[in-house]
Amino acid sequence: MGAPCHFALFDLQPDFRVDLAQLGERYRALARSVHPDRFADADARDQRLALERAAQLNDAYQVLKNAPQRALYLLTLRGHELPLEATVQDPEFLLQQMQLREELEDLHDSADLEGVALFKQRLKGAQDHLEQQFAACWQVVDEREQAERLVRRMQFLDKLMREVRQLEERLDD
């Protein structure tokens, strides 16, 4: 085994439910402890180790704070690596995704900030729902397929949420 488990780095048990505020605090404290400034007078080896540790912490933090990435990571820990570029054929869900994207396009065209806020709320609700479903099933052996389907759905919603935020910023200007 090479790199330590992302969860272990933050002294957490591998679980989908993560206290994000606590994770952020621990990340910041640990990141401070390996900050290059603290190793300005150290020898080259310690400097390099600190740098590696800082990169490791950052990678782990990016994965753990993002729900779909955290979910993917948990499945990987259990030995189920999902193919990254597989095409999804989940017609009903994709149809809904298509409609949501069309809706967002209309909100963009009408520059409807209030509409965007409502859209975001609905999207957040859908994300919460998916996350609850995943939390309930990822450890159940018989529900692995369902857990994988949920992760993929989470990835689509995550992308959509990023687009909503971009649109918000653009409309705010």
Binding site: Q89, L95, Q97, M98, Q155
Partner: protein
Amino acid sequence: MAYSEKVIDHYENPRNVGKLDAEDPDVGTGMVGAPACGDVMRLQIKVNEQGLIEDAKFKTYGCGSAIASSSLATEWMKGKSLDEAEQIKNTQIAEELALPPVKIHCSVLAEDAIKAAVRDYKQKKGLL
């Protein structure tokens, strides 16, 4: 990373963007998505009595390469039989658009969309 001229051309002037009536018995709809990048692609075909694809439409939410791949796919499908359309390979799309290795999966998505649309049509007609 720079897009090729052909990708930019399809991205700026996408061919056949739109929607066909999914309830029409002569229309086949393929819906596919790529979870890693969150791309969603809808590709539809309308087949005439001679069994030829007389119209093809697409709508893609995704990057330039995904849009160009599906735009090119609809262009190539028009006038073809279902069997001919199913022969379209992602490698041909990638080559035509000069897609870089990191964008090959966009052409795979387009090929999968073609296959899904043909399958949907065949299912409707009881051919599967």
